[in-house]
Symmetry: C2
Subunit: 597 residues, 2 copies
């Protein structure tokens, strides 16, 4: 830990010399990506906290780290001894970063941050909240860069083109749809900086961020022109050809600033202040009128087209087959051969990599045994892992990138004896997951309307999980994708989007008992239209995930009769879907695992 | 109907002469009250539509009436033949009034309305939306006044003081709390125009609006002073004494305009733009800085104190006894003696009036038989009513004003044979009502989070009810009271308030099949704290209403096992609460009505 103490100490010195009183280090690349390449992990470098979400606020008086409920347990562990104070976001009485700064920053002080890794919306909010304090913002420098001697290089990987038959829409069609929104909103230009949106728009993918098949890029679209900024090294002949064919002008990634300083502007520039970074925002803002608007690509990307849905259904089934076989293997072999969290994750990753059209994992497999599963986003490593024995609960949250889907699934299984509490929690979680999947709702509902359906069995026992119930998922793209989500409350800046036909969304209630066990059962659901009548358009869900829910941890006495029916119906479906892929002993196990209870 | 056609014709002539192209007639008094005295029913006078919510928009080209889902069936009936077009608010493709005006008003045209009956928020919105059309607003005249020859007088009734032991808080305490909010928000003054808020603040009541124990009044509060504007005729010696004792200066109701034009302003004037009328808003806006802020009294009034809650529990029980006896009487006598919707309502009103501390009804009793019950707010009259026979469903929605509570309750009962569909709908409605009452939720939830719990059994059958699930209720005040409510979506301007301990809220799912039947089961619930632990403060509900749910219309095959358990548990509670008030044959009926199914 002393290395972290040293780094914080050094940062404070650098801040003194730079005349900066508060320095913010969020977790972002220049595109406000949720997951970032090693190059961008400044906050992790400075704090030692490895979670995917967290912001460090450094002042001479205090160093605070803000993170969300998924990471409370993990952050406490990782920050221990560093002197860094953990701020548990959204908990009662815990100030937001903005509130904290409002309380602590004094008149005339200076706030610093790297303007490329802070989104414009946050920067603007700070400006407003501190307007009467004459605060100075310094955002032109990454102060930590000087400290980070062995910093990795900026990532670069080949950009490849997704085969047209897997896209459902051509680049021409997508550009036309985007331009229609621009026209409607009377914007002359669109500055799009969100990586997965850019990938989706141009039907391209790359590998610049682990598990996220994206390339560092920007795009600037006008009525007639489209310019993409990518690293020259990322271009292959095929990619160049693809861009040329679709009339997309290619420029170097680093040129974006000069381009935006010099290009001709014929009217308003549309951009999403939640995504665009503060540096570009200030730059464009100086030159012309900005129109803060959600990226038009956001909703288009979230509503999957029929070609995408067909592929998603296919690869989710193949992915379900693999996970089911893996879980059967664990059940069969645990206690008989040596295994640990890391080794079994490697096995699952290996099995998945053999599936047709496999590209990558969609996120690092979470393989967590016993109390480690209480850490929602725990990550076992080769060095730091737990031996697995024939008892207790094991949780595995994993997914793959296939040329045809991005998958995500979680199951928790018993490896031997489990406690009564575990059975109770597991049964309640299964009930919640199945109830939401079976829920019907009117068009016009958002995730806020339906979230309680998954949570109700747990809330009835006065148990909550400190995260949303569900998130959207990309198509051969990021495993977390907006705008839809299923939550019971929304932090500021979060969008409460309508649930639309063709969206896919996760359904993942859980129970996390610190120091004891963690349970999560996650299916991915497709949103479908159901009956339309005088009362409106009714909507529902369909399962995309077909993996048994471990009956060894179910006790029907903790479930409503109707929940047991739902469980049996789901298992009948699972058997029907998986059976063609199973034979011999595995088929017997499948029959047993999907039996009526 | 020809009289309506004539009135609309006359209005168009008056508009021509006044140079007004579009004239708006909402349903409001000068205080944006939900229910208004006869004097203010200009929209009803002009359109013939008697519902409590509706806005008429008159132009030479078209006359449109906007109303909400509660009144679609009724409005269609009442507008038939008038030439007035019904705009069904919140239905797909139906423009809001603002959208309609944006589409139809041409540059330079004039929009007219009586500025005293249009709230400032709406006026401001129109100003904004039509900003680039150079529209002229004329809001100084009530154009319909000249047409309405036999218009009733402005109402006036004696103001009385609520005994201090029924209030829980003195006027001094309430003023102190209000001034604390003003101080926090840096407002020098508060202009409060909402009638029930003014009554609550000064612990007074009156009778200026049917069923709403309020007096026409305004109040203007500063750090040291409090001025109330009431009609001189409304003052009794006791009331004068009460105001004097609490240092409240009394001025005439009509003086408010002159006062606001001339009074000394020492800083910002806090007022709620959703409540204050446009005329006063423009007047005060010209003189000083307005601070648009929810009335501080709103939340204070909604969170009942322990004295209020004790009284509420007591009078809700007495009210439940009366309704149960009335329903037993109907069940016993229907088919044996002549009865109609109006006569039985009179009987119920009479029975209620005999309860201790009865003041008034809390709203006109809705007594609706068979298809009439499909009209959510149907009102039978002495002249227009339906004979009741020993078959089908009867719905009664009613409540009383007592010196200790405002009650509201709905039950639907079988008077003989009912169809399978009715049983199905009734059982689903009962399930929804009971599920919501039993729901647990984390502090931080709003009505939007929990609404789906009541709706889910119906949505599963692709049936919806076109209204909210629940509303707040006043204390010896208006039967509809904010800020809390239980809805799945919020129209613009509606507040999504946190559900707080001590609030009371209705739980009233329903099924409304036009031309056939209407079912509503409404209990009032108290919001209570439950367990608090590391996951947060859990909350729940407690029933305040104890009236059997008619088992003759229940078929358990349409309910989940857990719903049947909830029903039996509720009936056990009902029996336990009501039994001391019942004897002989009625006690036998109570036993039968609350039996285990």
């Amino acid at each position: 830990m002393s290395i972290i103490v040293q780094r914080i100490h050094d940062m404070k010195e650098i801040m003194k010399n730079a005349g900066i009183d508060f320095y913010l280090v969020p977790t972002a690349d220049f595109h406000n990506s949720e997951y970032v390449n090693e190059y961008f992990k400044v906050r992790q470098f400075l704090s030692g906290f490895t979670g995917s979400n967290g912001t460090l606020v450094i002042s001479q008086q205090e160093v605070g780290l803000w993170t969300d409920g998924r990471y409370f347990v993990q952050a406490e562990k990782e920050l221990s001894g560093s002197g860094i104070v953990l701020y548990r976001m959204a908990e009662e009485g815990v100030p937001t970063i903005e509130e904290y700064l409002e309380q602590h920053v004094e008149s005339g002080q200076t706030i610093g941050f790297d303007g490329r890794v802070v989104d414009a919306a946050f920067g603007r909010k700070l400006e407003e909240m501190l307007a009467d304090k004459n605060v100075i913002f310094k955002y032109d420098k990454d102060l930590a860069d000087a400290l980070w001697e062995d910093r990795p290089d900026m990532p670069v990987s080949d950009i490849w083109v997704v085969p047209e038959e897997k896209c459902g829409k051509t680049v021409f069609q997508k550009l036309e749809e985007v331009r229609a929104v621009m026209k409607k909103e009377r914007a002359a230009h669109l500055l799009l900086t969100k990586l997965d949106d850019i990938m989706w728009l141009y039907n391209i993918r790359a590998n610049d961020i682990d598990c996220n098949p994206v390339a560092l890029s920007y795009t600037f679209i006008s009525e007639k022109e489209a310019v993409i900024f990518v690293q020259n090294k990322a271009l292959t002949e095929a990619t160049k050809c693809h861009f040329e064919k679709h009339g997309v002008l290619v420029k170097d990634y680093a040129e974006v600033v000069t381009f935006l300083e010099q290009c001709e502007l014929n009217g308003k520039v549309m951009c999403a202040c939640n995504d665009i970074n503060y540096l570009l925002y200030k730059l464009v803002g100086k030159r012309g009128e900005l129109l803060n608007h959600e990226n038009p690509t956001s909703l288009m990307k979230a509503i999957k087209n029929e070609v995408e849905l067909e592929n998603i259904r296919k690869y989710y089934l193949l992915d379900s087959v693999v996970l089911t076989k893996f879980l059967f293997w664990m059940k069969k072999n645990v206690g008989k051969q040596s295994m640990d969290e890391y080794s079994v994750a490697m096995k699952l990753d290996q099995m998945r990599s053999e599936v047709e059209d496999f590209l990558d994992l969609s996120f690092p497999t979470i393989s967590a045994y016993k109390e480690n599963a209480a850490m929602m986003h725990y990550s076992a490593t080769k060095e730091d892992k737990k031996e697995i024995e024939a008892e207790g609960l094991y949780l595995v949250d994993s997914g793959g990138q296939y040329i045809g889907a991005t998958t995500d699934v979680t199951r928790t299984i018993a490896l031997g004896d489990v406690t009564e509490d575990m059975k109770k929690h597991f049964s309640k979680v299964a009930s919640g997951m199945l109830r939401l999947a079976d829920a019907k709702f009117l068009y016009g509902c958002t995730g806020k309307n339906v979230d309680i359906i998954a949570r109700q069995p747990l809330w009835e026992c006065y148990i909550d999980y400190k995260c949303g119930t569900g998130h959207g998922i990309g198509y051969i793209l990021n495993v977390h994708e907006g705008p839809q989500n299923i939550r019971w409350r929304y932090n500021s800046g979060m969008k409460e989007a309508l649930l639309e036909e063709g969206m896919i969304v996760s359904d993942e209630p859980g129970v996390y008992i610190e120091g004891s066990h963690g349970i999560r059962t996650e299916n991915i659901l497709e949103i479908v239209k159901e009956e339309k009548n005088g009362d409106g358009q009714f909507m529902g869900f369909r399962h995309l995930t077909f993996v048994p829910i471990d009956l060894d941890v179910i006790d029907v006495k903790y479930m409503e009769t109707s929940d047991v029916c739902k469980l049996n119906a789901y298992h009948e479906l699972v058997y029907h879907k998986l059976e063609p892929y199973f034979e011999g002993e595995e088929l017997e196990m499948l029959k047993e695992a999907t039996r009526v209870v």
